[in-house]
Amino acid sequence: MIDEHFAIGDSFVHRLDPRVKIVVVFLFSVVVAVSTRFVVLLSALALGVCVTWLASLPTKELLRRLVPINIFIIFLWFFLPFTVEGKPYFSVGPLVGTHEGVLYAAQITIKSNAIVAVLIALVSSTSILTLGHAMHELRAPKKIVHLFFFTYRYIHVIHREYSRLVNAMKIRGFRPRTNMHTYKTFAYLVGMILVKSCDRAQRVHNAMLCRGFRGKLYSLSEFSLRTTDVISLILMLVVILGLGILEWTKIACS
């Protein structure tokens, strides 16, 4: 479950400098998130599709990952067409859907999918450790970066401990149901994970002390921008700027 399927690969996108990817994703997400014009949103979505295609990610897995956000979007579709005021467009029983409401819901749908498509294509195609190093290079606070590294490192160890406990419950005939026994068992499971992690924290701390730890953490990372990275960065910045201008001129006109 916590494997990084998309990080394996050797497409053009996979080989891009991770710092470039982070900067691009960030600017793209911000610009698209504040945009409202359909021209802009549709171009953004088209761009998202292009980038995922460039990253040659397995389509099925990609669609599977789009499911969670779209569930929330579908939930919104049940409300927004009826609650946004405007010209009546259709009706379901006593409820009247408006033109504006449908447009608004459509806008959100396109925005969400465009942002997440680019996020998946650029960020999930990088291993999380590389991303951490790139964040460090981009001058993210050191403490946060190290917290990120340690959390990520030990998620795997603790997840293994967790699966062992779950398996131990399974082989003793446990079946989750809606009852107190189940809730109590899960509470014990959570408690046990916390207790074990606490002990592990102590042991890791000791191991670090034995290697001269005095509160200073280091990261080794060297990235070097290649020409393709610089060109891609400039290209994408121009595209994002274009989207921004397109959106902004609307504001200027209206």
Binding site: N167, A168, M169, I171, R172, G173, M192, V195
Partner: protein, 250 residues
């Protein structure tokens, strides 16, 4: 069920963890009522994986599993299996999750639909039979390594299984506790499969030894001594054990 009937029958089982080379590769295994089988093999040869397959904790990508004469495939088939086969995990210290020993040992029986009182009675009985009387209210987390291992065994035995699978039950145990474990194994009349890197232990507690290498088992007695420096011991004890078979209580 009659003696020497086929309890576990695996045919051409293949399994690979995602993104890994196959851990089990067309593995075949026949395990009969009354068998006490040892299993040895290098790290990563798939011993633990095999036991997990039998318990239905992971599903093979191909192959056929028959247990107690029935074909098992679905999660609900395995629920029945798990009542009859007890499994002691590698790292058995990780098997306990309840605050007290008594709660942990009653967990299995409660899941099998026993009442609180019945479950407690079973738990007390099991603990006593393993020499753990008086441990009921101890906090599991604070037990010593050896005690945890024995309590884990109690939690499995409290399910009253017919077969035991033991994955390296003696690693990290001192000799006294290991001996106690051996005594327990020798005294119970279960059929069992015991995985260990310690050939002396296997020789002492099992009738025959399978050698697992890169996802397959060979049960060829002659091939084992070459892999271990205690070969003279093996020769000596193996026969003694073979002879002692008819003495078993079962």
């Amino acid at each position: 069920m009659d003696k020497n009937s086929l309890l576990i029958n695996l045919e051409d089982i293949c399994f690979a963890y995602p993104g890994r080379a196959p851990s089990l590769d067309k593995l075949n295994l026949q395990f009969h009522q009354g068998d006490r089988m040892g299993l040895i093999g290098p790290n990563g040869s798939g011993k633990t994986t095999l036991l997990h397959i039998i318990m239905g904790l992971i599903k093979p990508s191909s192959g056929r599993i028959e247990i107690f004469g029935g074909h098992v495939e679905q999660e609900k088939d395995f629920r029945m299996v798990r009542q009859k086969i007890g499994f002691l995990f590698q790292d058995a210290d990780d098997q306990l999750f309840s605050p007290t020993v008594l709660e942990d040992v009653t967990f299995g029986p409660l899941n099998l639909g026993k009442s609180q009182d019945e479950a407690k009675a079973i738990a007390r009985r099991t603990l006593e039979s393993l020499g753990l009387a008086g441990f009921e209210d101890r906090i599991t987390y604070k037990l010593s390594g050896g005690e945890k291992r024995l309590v884990s065994l109690a939690t499995v035995m409290a399910m009253e299984p017919e077969v035991l699978l033991l994955d390296e039950p003696s690693t990290g145990l001192d000799e006294t506790t290991e001996k106690r474990l051996v005594e327990i194994l020798k005294s119970v009349d279960f059929s069992y499969i015991l995985v260990s890197h310690n050939i002396d232990l296997l020789i002492e507690t099992t009738d025959y030894i399978g050698y697992m290498i890169s996802g397959d088992i060979s049960v060829d007695d002659d091939s084992i001594p070459h892999t271990h420096r205690h070969m003279h011991k093996h020769g000596k004890y193996a026969h003694k054990h073979d002879l002692s078979l008819p003495d078993k209580k079962s």
